[in-house]
Symmetry: C2
Subunit: 480 residues, 2 copies
């Protein structure tokens, strides 16, 4: 085993990145000297040295896995990124384009001419071409399609036709099929003749003459059984299969639950059309988790770390605009009680606490409900029990924290009635928060939008407005 | 292929759950009738029918994959859950306990006596026993260890000794090893003799006599090469390997980047100690994503949907307590300006908008920075450029949304100076937000805590307090 086999730790990635950045810094320093033109003679030697440093950098990049080069490109500002991209060998361009994020991919493709793009796409599989196609200029895609044979062109076209969240958009066409009526010996000879198996091939697909899938033959079984037996005798005839129109989220969950590595994708008449593999599902799960995290902060799409200010601002505007509207509404609620606040300014100081605690508590509830929906754990039978539990927690927390804040308010302002109003408003707003956190995701789901995205805004909107209203309203009635 | 082969869609899961719940409801209805004791004769027949419905339910459960039974148990309130659990065949208990969430596992284990627990753990692999052990009563674990042979006991003990976030805690001991100096023919005969291969075995580990790993032989290569060649000639001698002390997060990232299915785990002297597989890594990625989502709302650990009110409240207290403290601090900032608010109550109505927009904008920044840290994309060289970009966005957004709110405030209160204060305060607080969102994750990282968890609280704390301070301070200076 080679010595540098630990090619996986975070330190390794970060070291590679730092090395590349060092190369780049040295390069830029030299560029500066060259541009000053008054470079003395001994520095001309260094100039040569800097050319050498680009060669070293290029060698370093050659050593790296495409996924690691992609990672480095993500971490570099645009100009450095394009410099490094130029140093990557052309035949690796395609693989690396597949690994980078959408935002970085755009910036790389924009720097390439049509000839380079065609060359990059040349060595790719049809499912990979379909993955890149939406980001390529139209004339490049046309050119590319012309260069493919009929079968491959059809594969690319059908991949492109499927919804981007469907199994069809994630499947590949790399599978080995065999007949049920041959022996394992024949199968083994066939595989040796093929000379190679697709990646993630843990099973062969057993098909009839009309491409109907009748079973799968795990390689494990092929290996451990007597070569004289027939495929039909050892194959699994109850494989998990998918349809191209299935949701890829469901397929990913099935891969996870049933520990699959690959699975056939079939049409409604059980005829083989493609294959799903675990690496695509794992990428999907990770990408979804990231998207959720970004969406929770109102980032509509992944932002390249060094995207332009203008593009990034646009990406974030919608969220800020929606929040501005809800904040404005809450502000008008407060505005309705300006008379009370003039008389007792302490209300202005205490009201954000009531609203804020409601928001936090409501989002705890809505997070659990959103998760329950996503996992299919909540239905009509158990929803009410769940609400009862959340209301119970709100009652408990409202009594405890409302009590604490009531005492604090009393001590701060030496006003027992104000303390009482504070405690009651906290309790009431936590109950409102439990209701809001419970029903906001359900409402959004009924309206046909993803509960994961709007629930926090909607819940916070309700707890803010109601928190102000309850606290200031109670105070107006009781204190003034 | 059987007709019901589509065992993966969300509808399938939800249908199964609904069926189980229907069985349970029918069962409970009958229980009620029996308890009333005045059940007339024809209903006695129905009583028999209900006994039958439990049998049907039990059959239904037998059909389901352990992961699907686990999913159903998650969705049921405690009493129903235990009823269903009793109906599961004892030999499946172990597999199902491995699939359910921590919280549900606790509730199931609490309902079982030692004999049942021992039986459940009996058929499990050593890595699975190690996974369950922390949740089992101590005497059961002791009993269990006694029942294992020396080698297996050592495996369980070493699994338990590793840090729960390390590769050692996730590896299994299911691998097939071969020598480099045998032919593929011999290897094939050896595998046939074994009769079965471990799940997710996509490669054999090639070891020396002292268990030192010298390479791996992918089954693909074993299948396509001439049986007469030696293992050494076709094995890969640069495999990705892991150490038991590596962080499992790094290993999961490596599995994702390099599309691995299984990989050897070796000690510092390259001797084989275990194996990592893609299914564990996929589970880990999903679990981490869920944990992050729950933690973002201040849920310290996964809450069983039907946990007790008391336990759930405790799970959420820490978060609410921290938020109460930060809210109290912000409240004191407002308190310092009560004199100004008494003179101009409009300030109380407008101040939450300044604070809220700062919080939203700051969390957009901190989300990107946290992600950048997690992926290792941010280092000393590019951090300042990133901050520059974020400040640029804040300047743009602050000018646009500050301008909008300035006009709105002017129109609402017919007070141009108030509009000017509003616009300036928004702009300033968005700049503060960019700084807070940028430095809060870095600060938490330096303090040694996970930036993913506290960043939102810290950022919001700063934008709230500073938002109130800037707005009320400006207003006091300019307007009063």
């Amino acid at each position: 085993m080679r010595d540098d086999s630990e090619i996986y730790t975070k330190e390794y990635f970060e070291d590679s990145l730092r090395q590349v950045m060092d190369f780049l810094n040295r390069h830029k320093l030299m560029e500066d000297l060259v541009q000053r033109q008054d470079m003395p003679h001994e520095q001309a030697v260094e100039h040569l040295v800097h050319k050498q440093s680009l060669t070293e950098l290029s060698n370093k990049l050659d050593e790296l896995h495409p996924a690691d080069v992609a990672y480095i490109l993500e971490a570099l500002p645009l100009e450095d990124r394009l410099l490094v991209w130029d140093l990557v060998r052309a035949e690796r361009d395609g693989d690396i384009l597949l690994e980078v994020s959408e935002a970085v991919r755009e910036s790389l493709i924009a720097s390439m001419d049509n000839r380079e793009l065609l060359a990059a796409a040349h060595g790719l599989d049809t499912d990979e071409i379909a993955e890149l196609a939406p980001d390529l200029p139209k004339d490049v895609v046309q050119e590319l399609m012309k260069s493919l044979d009929e079968a491959k062109r059809q594969q690319v076209e059908s991949s492109l036709a499927y919804d981007e969240d469907s199994v069809g958009a994630f499947m590949d066409y790399d599978f080995v099929t065999i007949r049920a009526d041959v022996t394992l010996e024949v199968t083994l000879r066939y595989l040796r003749m093929l000379g190679d198996l697709p990646s993630h091939a843990d099973k062969l697909f057993v098909v009839e003459r009309d491409r109907r899938v009748v079973g799968v033959l795990p390689l494990k079984r092929l290996l451990v059984h007597d070569p004289d037996v027939h495929v039909a005798a050892v194959m699994s005839d109850e494989p998990v299969v998918f349809h191209p129109s299935d949701k890829v989220a469901d397929a990913a969950q099935a891969f996870e639950r049933y520990d699959l590595i690959s699975a056939p994708v079939v049409d409604p008449r059980d005829r083989l059309v493609g294959r799903l593999t675990v690496d695509e599902m794992m990428d999907y799960i990770r990408a979804e988790a990231e998207e959720d995290m970004l969406a929770a902060a109102g980032l509509r799409e992944e932002e390249d770390l060094f995207t332009t200010v203008w593009k990034a601002a646009k990406n974030r505007w919608m969220w800020l605009a929606v929040n501005l509207c809800t904040a404005l509404f809450a502000s008008r609620v407060v505005g309705a009680f300006e008379g009370s606040i003039e008389k007792l300014a302490a209300l202005a100081a205490l009201m954000p606490i009531v609203a804020g605690m409601g928001g936090n508590s409501g989002n705890q509830t809505s997070t659990l409900v959103v998760r329950g929906f996503a996992l299919g754990l909540i239905n009509r039978d158990n929803a009410m029990r769940l609400l009862g539990k959340e209301l119970g927690i709100a009652l408990l927390n409202g009594t405890v924290w409302g009590g604490v804040m009531g005492v604090v308010a009393y001590l701060l302002y030496d006003n027992p009635a104000l303390g009482g109003v504070m405690a009651s408003a906290m309790l009431l707003n936590l109950l409102v928060a439990a209701l809001a956190g419970h029903f906001a995701p359900a409402l959004l789901k009924r309206l046909g939008s993803d509960p994961a995205y709007g629930s926090a805004i909607l819940t916070t909107f309700i707890t803010d407005s109601m928190g102000f209203f309850i606290f200031l309203g109670l105070a107006t009635v009781v204190l003034l």
